[in-house]
Amino acid sequence: MITKIVINNVERAFEIEPDEVLLDVLRREGYLEVKGSCHTGDCGACTILLDGRPVASCLTLAAKADGHAVTTVRGIGDQAHPSVLQEAFVKNGAVQCGYCIPGAIASAKALLDENLNPTEEDIRLAMDSNYCRCTGYEQQVEAVLDAAEKLREAAKDEETKK
């Protein structure tokens, strides 16, 4: 079957099997920034944004994404144009081996898109699927708090300009 998905703002069409999961389709089509690990929805490595909400792509049927928008970590920002959130992860030492980071960034992005004043508890809850085997959890929380502060300042500056 043919499925059309807008991936990182670009519409793509793929031939998929009716029972294929999104993780497998994305990686097959070259979106290697989406990482697979447990394949049972437990580790959070494969988290992507589906219409702006975090989902485990290893458990999402690709056919369910038909007509919807997918954002991977590269859609949030890349090396040439990193997002505030990605810069905060680097600055706060939240990236160690890096394998969990694409999923962690996706979860954190979904949180900050709806709440620019998150508490530590909000952050831990919003990222409770994202396991980091390097155990860099504290730095990740600090990074999200840091990014939230910068995004609030930027929003205030925008408001002032108006």
């Binding site: 049972t40 458990l59 049927l61 369910k64 979860s107 409770d128 699927s129």
Partner: protein, 277 residues
């Protein structure tokens, strides 16, 4: 799934029902789809997607809060209507059960349709007195507790109604798990209404026993008409372990689960009276 050969985007409930009737047990309605991915059923060859059937909604009217079956746990947790219902217990737990990246996938209809023994949403909905609205050749409405006992095969779970008469009660959920995100070794849900410190109605549900969710009217009768006091709760805590049917599995022994039943009532007392025992 064994070999799924067709993914069918139903355009309406009538369309979905006709497709399911045509294919019989080879077809499955799709909620979030997680269970279908994790626990493949070789019999199923067609998945019927209900996402275009207008079942993703939460609305409130004088009869209560109606939740469309395609509504996700994340949406439930953010709903002001659900947050106001019975002290917000359902909204709180919908935002804390499982992981953040599946709470936007798990649907209310999916958890009811699958009703796995470890599920924490179904027992709480039963305690809240939820009714399930079904779509088939005719539309039906029945208590979720009755639906769980006798599923209507082939019918579409259209929505769940939280009845307005239970909105002012106090919902309570306690799940004993090894880690916060683990499945429950024992689940206890309750809805209680009080008047001037006297319990006027109570609905007590245990799940993860390791069997499915079950109501315990005998325990409800024990607390109704009694004062919200340590004496009332301690009598209930003494009785409950011998009434609740529990069993052994790899996670816990029957004896251990009986201790958990006692602990659940103690936690409930603390929640209701604010006094830790």
């Amino acid at each position: 799934m064994g070999r799924v050969t067709e993914y069918y985007h139903a355009q309406s409930l009538e369309d979905a029902f006709a497709k399911a009737r045509e294919l019989g047990p080879a077809a499955a309605y799709l909620g979030g789809g997680i269970e279908l991915v994790l626990r493949r059923n070789a019999e199923i060859t067609t998945l019927i997607d209900l996402s275009q059937c207008g079942l993703n909604y939460i609305r409130s009217d004088p009869s209560g809060v109606e939740i469309g079956s395609q509504t996700t746990l994340a949406k439930l947790s953010r709903s002001a209507d659900v947050q106001r219902f019975a002290g917000g217990s359902l909204a709180y737990w919908a935002g804390h059960i499982a992981h953040n990246n599946v709470r936007d996938m798990i649907t209310v209809g999916g958890v009811i349709g699958r009703n796995q023994p470890w599920n924490d949403v179904v027992p709480h909905l039963i305690a809240l007195g939820a009714r399930v609205q079904l779509f088939g050749e005719t539309e039906q409405s029945m208590l979720l507790a009755d639906y769980i006992e006798a599923k209507r095969s082939g019918m579409i779970i259209k929505s769940v109604l939280l009845p307005q008469e239970n909105a002012g009660g106090t919902g309570f959920l306690w799940r004993f798990t090894r880690t916060e995100q683990d499945i429950s070794t024992l689940h206890f849900s309750a809805l209680v209404a009080t008047d001037a410190g006297i319990v006027t109605s109570a609905s007590l549900v245990f799940a993860g026993r390791p069997g499915h969710a079950a109501l315990y009217p005998q325990l409800s009768a024990e607390i109704v008409g009694k004062a919200l006091s340590h004496d009332s709760f301690s009598k209930l805590a003494e009785l409950a372990p011998s009434v609740v049917e529990v069993g052994s599995d790899l996670r816990a022994t029957e004896e251990y689960r009986r201790e958990l039943v006692h602990a659940a009532i103690v936690y409930w007392e603390e929640h209701m009276t604010g006094v830790a025992q």
